[in-house]
Symmetry: D2
Subunit: 357 residues, 4 copies
């Protein structure tokens, strides 16, 4: 049995590079030889034990690679083709999929809905930080990569870009909107880019790390606010002459950013929440107009599926958005433990790392 | 100067019938002689000092009456015509109005948005519990009542029906949806009727008062749950085989109902909130899938404007919904203090009272 | 090899009952033993050579039956279970499916979109007028039937009801809308029922056959118009005081009904077209306000997939709509040629026939 | 009585500069001193007698100017302020306005809808090609111009930009869409810019005039097609590998462009029509998939109102789109007849002219 390297979760605080058999390929699967992958904030939650997964699971949900082998029932692809798949890999046949809610795919459940059910890689099945990954429901999930694009150019599509753009889309941005994006980490930066791409004419990025604020301006923020220098709520209300923003995007997952996002919303505005929270949230009565302000709060889990990937690749290919600058560091798979160490501790201005087997 | 009777807010705990001059009619106004009006839960909040208004203000925001005099610039109506106006009386010219958000009308503000700004009657201008009420921006707000309908048949249109239906509409109900409505007071009952009218095929009404549960079944609930007899969250999850509901409508304004509404939502579902809350709200992490469940929380303030009123009158006229049973008690304007006493203390199975000057 | 009976297209004018082998079951298929099926207007188009299909193809796309055998990869069902499948059987994995456009499924094409591609039964693969039908992509398409419902109660779900309701849904009906439905054949009747179920408060049904006008009133029409007795455009404009309707549904497929639907639309209204046209359509300049009336023209092919079926079954189960009266005649499969003769010639007040093998 | 110059329609073929009294200011009006205006294609239709208006009417519907006098009931503005108003000036109080359909404003009609009713300037009331224009319902329509913007920078907002962007918006463009825009005159160019601003990643502009194709590339077209050099339908199908476009925008008003737009649509796509047609339109059966392709055809009349203007000004101010290059020629009001001559005959590569009184 052929062996491969894989970053597996061992126990709280330990994700290590181990050896595993290369997986067998079922009729609907595709085996992908990973050429580039990355580490996500969620993986750090797993590492820290904040999000539980099975011991021995291969981590990672952002695959760029080459089709090594196709299942017997898979049509429309060829071995040797370069592809990506989304972090979310829906089944294509659940009720959730048929309702357009692919991320909450409940395949296997009686009714077809399961919270976070579409997220399988590195969560409920082996993931992508390995030499090979098995993509389930390949015809639903594999998307060819245009020849002109490098691995690093498309590395953000499976998760970060899909999530950040999803936050902008769920906000229902109209031409001429003012949008505030709270936190300019990788997801917030993509939300900033997505807001601009959706027609917002004033995009305000909030963070405190100079490198992130600079990246925000590069990717679409018209104005950036350092929340340590000024109170972002007061500053945004000042900038908008007391009107507030049409859409506020939360991209961190804390009470402070959630609450600030709500406080800068105009009546009738939308708070689009992307963060993964770690405790109960509080909605302050005044910021919520006691429930009478026609506010909307919407949450979005990374959209997946091959058509989503095709569209994000089209964005990259069009040159409308360039996410390459987000790859700040590069590691070989053999050095992935060092990559985790750098990324989890946010050292050296890291935004995203590229891992190459 | 002609005088009239009016129920005015005097101080915490005291709304009394007083005498005031009949108001002058400006060029865009209409003076309406009230033939029937009612008391709203919000008026009780005012009475109890929970919602502050100016001393001396006439209370009430649900007018049915006859046009007594039209402003010089008002066209398209005639004196003597029977009309209603919404509880919310938008200006028609604010940015909020042009964005379709009439309830958050910010006429007079720099940017045109103001939380609750569309609510003027009995809030920022004199209201309807009087012999006469002055309707501002009459051409935006006055809607003729078809001859075949009685005052009591249309008495719910200005507020309760518009609000309850608005909750169903904001939920984005699709044909075949399962909808739960938490609390079956007047607004919850209208939300129940609105959910059925929107194509929901299983409407679940939650309350504990037998008369309200019976009214819920009459107005459209397929199933009712007495929350003192069974845990409504567990019961709804059981009834839906663990799937949860597509849309949950909160119609009371408490943490308990808000939280229960969130807990019964399927992934990707919508919590449509109508209640007026009196404290901060808490979103439990688990019920919110840590922010990753594609949930939506939307709030709706009573939609207003003459076209909204016309549509609600069309519902009544079509016979699709009959809200007359909601008028359980009748008082003359002279006895309005007794009416407040009954209504504020929810005595004698009261749902709504009709007040006739 | 086991044999079965099947109604096959032989040549223009001839659909005959023939013998065929019971099909083999692939890994993703399910073999259904048909217990009830029906004939559709589209089948008559095939019979008359107006819609071309391969010689020898089994006709029919409305299956109610029992699972006889499940493919090796099919999970979540059991043999012996009573099920329906939609007339449209999407693959679940095309780009069209992931865009929510299941009817235009382009599985197997490079880009995943193909006009009418979701329609396979009796079009590109063997259909349902037979002892058995093979359902492709079974997990995407099979929907269990609740025990309390008879075959005839659910017989309209696969096509007629899904199409008619789809026309109402695509119209974007709001509470209080006035809707006109042109033609009250089976699809028009379902559109009428769907319009009422969506919150329309005035539904106007147009036809000339008394039985169909009576059925229209039973299923939701508030007003019916016999187009031979009065000009329906003039009458609808009169009924609406010159305003026109918010949504007009075309359910026949002729220039006359299409044009009438356009002529009764208010500015900003929607023409929802369901008919299968047989020639070019003309949009009269005046009825179209020279392209400046904010009109919308939308077309809908029968929505499919198991979740769609589940929702339609929920409508039937709720008692909101009863389509049993649409089954006016019953035939055994052995007599299907007589059933075609009756149905194709619209004799004896036929609406729909039930065929039982 | 003070006099002013005004370009008035005299008879077929003659729009001449004449003298008229400066209009009186009613309570809701504002008198604007025009500083810059322009000529629209519609004005040429009027000139040629293809669109009938009253003799003696002042033509023109694109005002940039200074508030000279405010009506007694107008609040929120000050005399001397620089403003624009949309070509469409809704009343703010019709049913159409309350339905979000401001362009089809039916103020004064019984039901509040009137085809093209929102278009008043130079159609049903005196227009803007004059020293002064009276803006009705000033609080609904006047929008201040930011100091940093020149007249010419904002001159396209009232009509051309609002219309072209409206075509993109009505198309419902999603991130990653491919959009074709047929004709690259002023409206088509703005539709091209609007499509890019809405997230389309491949925008294809079709025309034949080299200067317009160059302008298209400047404003957002990724690809341009000269329809005299290649068949645009075949070329677009080739460019999209047979898939077709998600949204096709028609911006000329001819059978040829309408039909081409329909032929390049993918199943489920949207044809967004902006052109003013001069004859009946034909929908070819095959291009329309016999009515079964889930196609949408939507038309849009220039959106108006002050909030629309504010948003378009925000686009200009953000620098996302620069429409100044569209002003190719400049004339004094005294020379407007020469301007008509140049513009109507499309001489000298004219796109738009600026007229300054």
């Amino acid at each position: 049995m052929k062996k491969m390297r894989a970053a597996v979760f061992v126990e709280l605080g330990r994700i290590v590079l181990d050896e595993k058999p290369v997986p067998d390929v079922g009729p609907l699967d595709a085996l992908i030889r990973i050429t580039t992958t990355t580490i996500c904030g969620t993986d750090v939650h797993i590492l820290k034990g904040e999000y539980p997964v099975a011991r021995g699971l291969t981590i990672g949900h952002e695959p760029v690679g080459i089709i090594e082998r196709l299942g017997s029932a898979v049509q429309g692809y060829r071995e040797g083709e370069r592809v990506i798949a989304g972090a979310i890999t829906p089944s294509g046949h659940s009720a959730a999929c048929q309702c357009g809610c692919l991320s909450q795919d409940g395949a296997g459940t009686k009714h077809g809905f399961k919270a976070l059910g579409g997220w399988r890689f590195g969560n409920t099945i082996d993931g992508c930080q390995a030499d090979y990954v098995l993509v389930p429901d390949a015809m639903v999930n594999l998307c060819p990569v245009p020849d002109g694009l490098t691995d690093e150019q498309v590395l953000m599509c499976p998760d970060i870009m899909s999530t950040g753009f999803g936050g902008a889309e769920s906000g229902g941005i109209s031409i001429g909107d003012t949008v505030a994006v709270f936190a300019q980490g990788p997801i917030g930066l993509c939300a900033t880019a997505g807001a601009k791409l959706s027609g917002a004419t004033t995009v305000i990025g909030v963070d405190t790390i100079p490198g992130r604020l600079a990246a925000a301006r590069l990717l679409g923020a018209d104005i950036t606010i350092d929340y340590r220098a000024v109170d972002p709520v007061r500053e945004i209300m000042r900038l908008t002459d007391g009107r507030g923003v049409d859409v506020a995007i939360e991209a961190l997952g804390t009470q402070a950013t959630f609450e600030a996002a709500l406080r800068v919303l105009r009546p009738g505005g939308t708070l689009s929440s992307l963060g993964v929270y770690s405790g109960d949230l509080r909605i302050p009565l005044d910021a919520f107009a006691a429930g009478l302000g026609n506010h909307r709060i919407v949450t979005t889990l990374c959209p997946g599926g091959k058509e989503r990937m095709r569209r994000l690749l089209a964005v990259i290919e069009s040159g409308r958005v360039d996410l390459k600058p987000m790859v700040t560091h590069r590691f070989r798979l053999d050095d992935i433990e060092a990559a985790y160490d750098l990324f989890a501790n946010q050292r050296d201005g890291v935004l995203k790392v590229a891992i190459t087997p």
